[in-house]
């Protein structure tokens, strides 16, 4: 895949021929220095963006030519996002935040709330259901985000610098949560520039200047 940004006469090849196969159930870290194209790749993998050229096949379906609303559907069903800045709805309670993707899937209120409550219990926030994001710590907010990412049982969990705004101890908590999610059969892609974080993954892909610099298995993953 290639992804080119054109700003005036300036052309940036954010992804300059990246070829990657990720299998179901993998736990993979994408690394690289700032500006190497991590976020660009992540956006494409998350169906938030499409490649300028090349194709992206997700679950056997070519999504690279899809329109906005089709991509919305794919994101809703196939992708669970965990962002560095949590990206929760500030006026919604934890349950409402977690249930949000289900709204776009047409799930009714009672069913939605029930599933969101279960998801929150699974990430250890059973006693914080009605809290608003500003009433929760950073680690708790990220747990809400993880619960939200898992709510629609997606094909991929995509995490962009998930611990970037967390202290070390909380980061370890979140990484152990990822470990647990991975063990239960989910596919996880973590974008990070931190070696410590990347080492939790079973495979590490390194980007530089929009190209894959290396793609290696991690024989000794850190078990949080």
């Amino acid at each position: 895949m290639r992804r080119r940004y054109v700003i005036g006469t300036n052309v940036v090849n954010a992804l300059d021929g990246v070829s990657l196969t990720i299998n179901k159930g993998e736990y993979i870290a994408i690394m690289g220095p700032s500006g190497s194209g991590k976020s660009t790749l992540m956006n494409i993998l998350g169906c938030l963006d499409t490649p300028t050229s090349g194709t992206y096949v997700l679950n056997g379906v070519d999504v690279s030519e899809m329109g906005d609303d089709e991509l919305s559907d794919v994101r809703n069903r196939e992708i669970g996002f965990v962002f560095q800045t949590f990206n929760l709805m500030p006026r919604y309670s934890a349950v409402e935040n977690v249930a949000l993707p289900l709204i776009y899937n047409g799930v009714g209120l009672r069913n939605r709330t029930h599933r969101a409550e279960t998801a929150l219990e699974n990430v250890g926030l059973g006693d914080r259901m009605e809290h608003k994001p500003n009433e929760l710590s950073g680690g708790q907010r990220q747990r809400v985000a993880v619960a939200r990412a898992l709510i629609n049982d997606p094909s991929i969990i995509l995490a962009d610098e998930p611990t970037g705004n967390l202290d070390t101890k909380t980061s370890i908590d979140i990484m152990s949560l990822f470990e647990q999610i991975y063990k239960s059969g989910n596919t996880i892609i973590v974008v990070t520039h931190e070696e410590d974080i990347a080492r939790h993954a079973r495979r590490i892909v390194r980007l530089r200047d929009g190209k894959i610099e290396s793609d290696m298995d991690n024989p000794n993953p850190t078990m949080a």
């Binding site: 938030l48 906005d68 919305s72 559907d73 809703n76 962002f83 990206n87 709204i103 776009y104 047409g106």
Partner: protein, 417 residues
């Protein structure tokens, strides 16, 4: 089902947002409020006026003519009211009335009435100034029917013809003079040193479209008035009610030819009298209202336009403030139309709230008019629906542009805001 739920969710989110930004919201609604207030208040007043007109026409029948010196509207083809021409016309005399009543074959009944203004009425040590005294012949109530309250009665033909010292008075006057309306019957009132006995009190009428009301008037037999004022000084109304089924135009023709004959006008001479349709004044009122309508409607339209821009503006601000949240919603799978609906609903809701405030103010106004000023007027369901309909339409039109700008946002860029 899925779509309905999305619509419901959009509505819910929109409501939350409206409720949260109360003050800012209220300010931006002012235009819509003023606009709906002006437009629907015209409709409301107009409806009330129309109802009054219809009631009046129902009461007196549509084919009642007033013959006198003065036309009620400028004559056909004239824009100016040529009062200098009318002032020198002869008044309808009692003799003319009697002769014409015989000759006008299309008339069902006729009456001669004269209004004497600024009369002082006394009873015991109480008095009322500026009362309108109407002296009229027997058939007068057929042209202006108002029921007489139980316990009272109308003149007998005998009383009417002989000029008996009897009177029927309005409720307001009865209250002022006797405190209790029912005490009035049989009491004596004095005017111009003549004592008359109250034999009846009119049912409360309220102010009618002519700006007059029986409530503060005194009705006496025509012949009685002759005994204390020189009636030839007064302009009299010769009132004619047409027979059922006679067309207004035929009735007018009949009246004109009889009057011209009585006054011996040569064919070349203009009429020296005016034949006024009782509905003519109503038409005049309507034409005045259509002017007011136009002006008020223009103000209302302008306010609504301003209000629409206000709403569009507040919505653009709202979209800008919530850009990051829109990004999150889209990332999580919200489709363009969900976002579009959400913001359009928000605008519609705002606009409806603005309109509802306007309607509420009108409602207060109708209560004040009805109970404070005795002018019966009501905010009808039809007008409420029209008001809210206009509001939602404006909201939808004003909201669609900001909503569209939200709907087409790129999620990645929106989230980074």
């Amino acid at each position: 089902m899925k779509t309905i739920r999305q619509i419901y969710e959009a509505l819910r989110m929109a409501t939350q947002s409206v409720v949260i930004n109360k003050v800012r919201t209220l300010l931006s609604l002012l235009g819509i409020t003023i606009g709906i207030f002006s437009i629907i208040s015209i409709f409301t007043v107009l409806d009330a006026v129309e109802q009054k007109i219809r009631d009046n026409v129902d009461k007196i029948g549509s084919n009642v003519m007033y013959v006198g010196k003065w036309p009620w509207t400028p004559e056909e083809g004239q824009t100016e009211y040529e009062w200098w021409k009318f002032v020198n016309r002869p008044s309808v005399s009692t003799k003319e009335f009697q002769e014409a009543s015989e000759l006008i074959k299309t008339a069902e009944s006729t009456a001669l009435a004269v209004s004497i203004y600024n009369i002082t009425i006394k009873s015991g040590n109480r008095s009322r100034k500026e009362v309108e005294l109407i002296a009229a012949t027997y058939d007068y109530p057929e042209m202006r029917p108002t029921e007489i309250r139980d316990g009272g009665r109308y003149f007998t033909p005998m009383e009417s013809n002989s000029g008996a010292q009897v009177a029927i008075i309005g409720t307001k006057l009865a209250e002022d003079l006797f405190d209790d309306v029912d005490y009035a019957i049989g009491k004596t009132i004095k005017t111009n040193n003549i004592s008359v006995t109250v034999i009846g009190v009119f049912e409360t009428e309220g102010t009618n479209m002519f700006g007059t009301s029986y409530d503060e008037q005194v009705l006496i037999p025509y012949t009685l008035a002759r005994s204390f004022v020189n009636l030839s000084w007064y302009d009299k109304d010769f009132i004619i009610k047409g027979k059922e089924g006679v067309a207004t135009a035929d009735l007018i023709d009949d009246i004109r030819s009889v009057m011209r004959r009585l006054r011996r006008l040569p064919p070349s001479a203009e009429d020296n009298f005016a034949v006024n349709e009782s509905s003519g004044i109503l038409k005049q009122v309507e034409s005045i209202f259509s002017m007011i309508n136009l002006v008020w409607g223009f103000i209302g339209g302008l306010s609504i336009l301003v209000g629409g821009f206000g709403i569009a503006n507040i919505m653009f601000v709202s979209v800008r403030e919530r850009t990051a949240l829109i990004g999150i919603q889209k990332a999580l799978g919200a489709k363009s139309y969900t976002i579009l609906l959400q913001f359009t609903f928000e605008a519609v809701l705002l606009s409806i709230a603005g309109g509802a405030i306007g309607l509420f103010l009108i409602w207060i106004g109708t209560l004040v008019a009805t109970y404070g000023f005795d002018f019966e007027i009501g905010l009808t369901l039809k007008n409420i629906v029209i008001g809210l309909g206009i509001s939602s339409a404006i909201g939808a039109v004003a909201g669609i542009f900001p909503a569209y700008s939200a709907a087409k946002m790129d999620p990645v860029r929106a989230m980074s805001k």
